[in-house]
């Protein structure tokens, strides 16, 4: 077995050569680690500077894709911060812009409001399901739904995003949504057929939407929409943070 370096009472090591003065040894250890740490930090910062813009761009693109899906292709959108006082373009005092609760308002080519996009997440069958849905506050109807994060069982629970018929059911359904078993529905405007064999996952999706609308519905209805962003600002006025706090790097 390899001989282990012995440790003296003063902290130095005596596996080879004459014993060194303890202060020098400790300083040398600290210095080595400090230098190594500094070089490591420098390398990481350099790579971060290169990678960060691309990571932000990916996030913005993912959000744009989600909004395109649930608001049926808006021409532009704005982010609004949610606070107890209602929705506003400026973040409430003391709130971090990255983790703040946001809704998005979409506009069509003519500058009219298409609807609001709201995100939400709750525990489903396996783990938390995150989704985003589009909502027309004036008519009280959903415009679409898209699952952002799901760890549901493949082949069963994952039908909440793989079964396109289920996803399409959310277009035009009125709130609050009522989930009904396949074949038991009465054809009412607020009914959605749940997936056979994935009742809990489907019910969670419906619950997320209903709970979010309970919390925000009045704020959305009362909110006076801001005018659309000017065309030169492309389609976003700030790089958004993607799904709420899920991905931080």
């Amino acid at each position: 077995m390899k001989e282990l370096p012995t440790v003296q009472a003063d902290g130095g090591s005596s596996d080879s050569g004459p014993p060194r003065a303890p202060q020098v040894a400790s300083v040398k250890l600290m210095a080595t680690l400090a230098v190594a740490g500094a070089v490591a930090g420098l390398l990481i910062v350099l790579v971060f500077q290169w990678a960060d813009p691309q990571i932000q761009a990916h996030r913005a693109a993912a959000l744009r894709a989600a909004l395109l899906e649930v608001l049926s292709g808006p021409a532009s959108y704005r982010s609004l911060y949610v606070s107890p006082a209602g929705l506003s373009m400026t973040p409430p005092a003391g709130v971090d812009t990255v983790t703040a609760e946001k809704v998005y308002i979409g506009y069509d080519d003519a500058g009219d409001v298409v609807g609001y996009a709201v995100t939400g997440g709750e525990p489903g069958f396996q783990d938390i399901i995150q989704l985003i849905f589009g909502y027309d506050a004036g008519q009280g109807r959903l415009l679409g739904m898209m699952v952002l994060e799901s760890k549901e069982t493949p082949g069963l629970g994952d039908k909440i995003f793989k079964d396109l018929d289920f996803v399409a059911e959310f277009q035009g359904v009125t709130a609050p949504i009522k989930g009904v078993k396949l074949g038991a529905g009465t054809g009412a405007d607020n009914e959605v057929d749940m997936i056979t064999g994935a009742t809990i996952s489907s019910r969670t999706v419906i619950d997320i939407i209903n709970h979010r609308l309970e919390a925000l519905g009045s704020a959305l209805e009362e909110h006076v929409p801001e005018p659309p962003p000017p065309p030169s600002a492309s389609s976003a006025e700030e790089p958004p943070a993607g799904d709420e706090g899920e991905e931080r790097s």
Partner: protein, 191 residues
């Protein structure tokens, strides 16, 4: 409060750290031959996880917002230092406890469960209490998996096992069955 309970039970049963998230496999496969060693390893893990939850919360709240790219390095440094300090403290204040627990502590440093916990905690943006309950649930889940595996292995020592299976292969198949069994917990606790 329901939220906290869900976090604890989910980490312990539904998304068990070892059987579902594959964290903490080195001790699970290596230290699970005897029930009492498994129990002690599990308790040491719970202790380190709970302390890590405090450190992670401190780091995330006060230091890392200024340097998010140093997250991984700072987690590792903090975990390693903390385990080292704990080992020295236990050695000094309770030699009996050290004799029972001490050899496991350095193993825990490179245990992916601790670092995995820190990363999941950060990604989900848990606050102090949520992180604490997550740590307790994760530790309990680890202990549960360890003790279950140890009791199965202890019992199967006297069973006649074909030569080709007298290696880790059988342990892994047993783990797979355990994992399959734990899948039954899914859907028990929804909000």
């Amino acid at each position: 409060m329901g939220d906290l309970f869900w976090i604890l039970l989910s980490a312990m049963l539904v998304n068990n750290f070892t059987l579902h998230l594959f964290l903490g496999l080195c001790p699970f496969l290596g230290v699970s031959a005897r029930v009492d060693t498994a129990l002690r390893m599990g308790l040491a893990n719970i202790f380190v996880l709970v302390m890590t939850s405090v450190c992670v919360w401190l780091l995330n709240t006060f230091i890392l917002p200024y340097a998010p790219y140093l997250r991984l390095i700072s987690f590792i440094v903090v975990i390693a230092s903390f385990v080292q300090i704990t080992e020295m403290a236990i050695k000094k204040f309770s030699p009996t406890l050290f004799r029972q627990l001490g050899i496991f502590l350095p193993l825990i440093t490179t245990n992916c469960a601790i670092l995995g916990y820190a990363i999941f905690n950060t990604n989900r943006g848990y606050d102090f209490l949520q992180g604490l309950f997550f740590a307790i649930g994760a530790g309990l889940g680890l202990t549960l998996a360890l003790v279950l595996m140890a009791s199965i292995r202890e019992t199967s020592e006297t069973a006649s096992i074909p030569a080709m299976a007298r290696n880790m292969g059988l342990v892994l198949i047993i783990s797979g069955s355990l994992s399959l069994a734990f899948m039954g917990f899914a859907g028990l606790f929804t909000s």
